[in-house]
Point group: C3
Chain length 330, copies 3
């Protein structure tokens, strides 16, 4: 393994192998595996799970980390090309990234979508520019369009729960006050398709995922024996569902236009998962969410606090999945 | 040991045993004891000693930590029940705490008193709600009413200095611009009572500690052969004192009413320990304070910088005491 | 080695020995060398390289760190003597520094120049006051007038690049919007002089370094067989140069008077290293800078991104040089 950027870079077999390793490291700790090894962590956006779980993962393997975020560095970081830096920013990413990378054996980078320019973000241009400055193994800790650590953790969670690989997986849009990026829905769709699941994307009209994302997922589903459907009918979607994976994302047509988006989704506040919605599925259906989640907005307490919610298990699997990735990378 | 929440949960014998372990770990380091182990650290209030000493403690035992504080997490943390989260906070403690705990082998939590609601804070309701979300061993890094790591460090400091277990221990109120919580005075009183000391609470009228706190301490004193007195007379209090332990706390009657409190203590600025006050005790009397301390406000430089001040030794004992607790917990 | 405060405290032989150790630790890691050891890190100014490289260095040697900066501690730190602390600051450095030091086996302190009082800063008064509070080995992570970790890293970089010890070293002033301190130019001059290089200080009139700094460097050059010249002529300076080491610093006459300084250097914006300037030297001349550097202001992209720029190597050598220092100190 050279980098860990996109789950789609691996075969289902390779992924299952990583998950086995994650499980083994959970059961049989290896506190000397990465002795004296350093993971550089660069956060261009705030984080709780990613920040914590990577630090914990390295300690468990006997190594360590350091964290850089713009608030901590010297007066913020400039990222524009060809710029005359006579403003506040005292350092350019062109130096900062190689320097940070040079202190580690690998680097994790979080640079989430700005939700401004759909075409650029679908191509992950910003993230690719950052990683082009790195000559070490890197880990995508969430970019505009990818979140492979979350995907690997979710796959493991599905395995842990014995959700059949051909079970029905509902990827559902939910209401959210902000216009969120496509990284989780896109990469989760791909994950479920690669795992062979019967995926139903449940979303109001106007919240279709980009065609390129859909195409890639359809190909993955074809290869894995899975399938991909779309609907805006909650009853239909929930029928036979083994998992409802909830997230919010910006509509493509209003991408980067917050005022339009706000207006467009104004009537959709009932896209908040409550028991009436969740109970349309059978009792063995699980509620998944990558967190953070807004209570009373995206999901009601009754669902999130219920026995079928597995969000904490998903989060813990972030650490274990990342330990497997780090073990392979280093 | 399951958790470390309140010094009163342990017998004097168990505490002496922890202190012996702390001393042994100081003299004979065990840098492999907690290899690959992770302590999660959650700070809902700022910290210097606690933050530093827990990180240092884990490194010395071969493990590691990660730190989460609201400023670093995603847009702050919500803590109200049944809330519709459409404001700034993107994450609820109901998810954040279990997630943070899930990455560690134990978790330390600091959630100091808000100094708002006396009854609720005496019951440590907020802190108990937080720990109810944790299924790992936890350490109280200061709650509304407890500060057991400080208490254990102070007990060790008293032992290190050969202060007799039945020596006179003056717990004195001091002036402070803010209305401070009861955690240090209450738990320090209990510590001194459990150690068998002859405790004198020296405070202006109106700054009596709550009856429940006093009752508990009197029982502990009865069992240990110690005693508890109260006075507002500095000369009387200092006579024969082996230790003056200084702190400030809010008056019960004005608890949560800052303006009233300010008025009430307006005339008390002379409750600042200077040589004239300190010298009322014999030369072997020690000055203790948990830090941070305001110079010229709570204590004069002449006392704090004098040879009888042991505040730095107390602080160093924080690390050693915590190493013993961590060694036992993990 | 007791402390690491000033490169001038060591002989060239001792420095070469440290560099050999740095190289050995790079080639043959020693992840158990500092097992269970703690380096306290106190940053009174923001940092990227220093923060990252010290944390990484300790992990690579098997130990760990904790970081304290005023933003994280309780309401900032007071540093004035004899003060009545009834403002915002709740803690004085008189307690904070000894406490922080007490948790580590050594302490690194960054307290850069305020660029206010030249005489005081030349004597490093603030930094010396801080270290007078420490009873552990300390490392100067940049003070008003010293930056020994940078100097050691730069010396190693010169060695790595096979720059002859008597090669021509141009220390050049550059334009910068802020009035910067003398720590890097002063200590870099000393470093190059001690290494035996033929140093040319290239600066506009008015940007001479203080006489005391020059004297000390001349003595070092005399002992090492090097030399020191000064000029404001770029063509003359660059002729035969093996290195141009660029930095900005405040003029002595306007030290602490920002408005005067701004006016004084108003016409000097062309002191930005571009190809026309850089190409006055031969093709084997290297561009050095301690970073952070302002693109388009101090140096043009064409130089910084060119093959003769070695700024990233310099930065990586920070970590390696510091590993050697830590190995010796602990």
């Amino acid at each position: 393994m050279k980098n860990f950027n996109d789950l789609a870079d691996y075969s289902a077999l390779e992924i299952e192998d990583l998950i086995s390793l994650a499980r083994r490291l959970d059961e049989k700790p290896e506190p000397k595996a990465l002795e004296g090894k350093v993971l550089s962590l660069l956060f261009l956006n705030p984080s709780l799970r990613t920040l914590s779980s990577f630090q914990a993962a390295m300690v468990r393997l006997g190594g360590g980390t350091f964290v850089i975020s713009p608030e901590m560095s010297i007066h913020g970081l400039e990222s524009r090309s060809g710029i005359v830096m006579d403003g506040a920013a005292a350092e350019h990413i062109y130096e900062a990234i190689p320097v940070i990378a040079s202190y580690g054996d690998a680097i994790g980078i979080r640079a989430a979508a700005k939700v401004e320019n759909l075409q650029s973000e679908l191509l992950d241009k910003d993230f690719n520019e950052l990683t082009s400055l790195v000559d070490k193994p890197y880990i995508n800790m969430e970019s505009a369009i990818n979140h492979p650590c979350q995907n690997l953790a979710d796959w493991k969670t599905l395995n842990d729960l014995d959700i059949p690989s051909n079970g029905k997986f509902v990827l559902s849009w939910s209401w959210h006050p902000n216009a969120l990026s496509l990284s989780v829905p896109s990469s989760t769709l791909q994950m479920a398709a690669m795992r062979g699941m019967d995926v139903t994307i449940l979303r109001p009209e106007g919240f279709e995922l980009p065609e390129g994302i859909m195409d890639r997922a359809r190909k993955a589903a074809f290869l894995s024996g899975g399938s991909i459907q779309e609907t805006d009918d909650r009853t239909e979607a929930m029928e036979g569902a083994r998992v409802i994976y909830v997230n919010s994302w910006s509509s493509i047509n209003n991408y980067g236009k917050k005022a339009n988006e706000d207006k467009f989704k104004h009537e959709l506040r009932d896209w908040c998962v409550d028991n009436a919605w969740f109970d349309k599925a059978a009792d063995d259906c699980r509620f998944m969410h990558c967190l953070p989640v807004r209570r009373g907005v995206t999901v009601m307490d009754e669902v999130l606090d219920g026995p079928r919610s597995v969000v904490i298990a998903e989060s813990r699997n972030r650490m274990l999945a990342q330990m497997a990735v780090l073990h392979r990378l280093l």
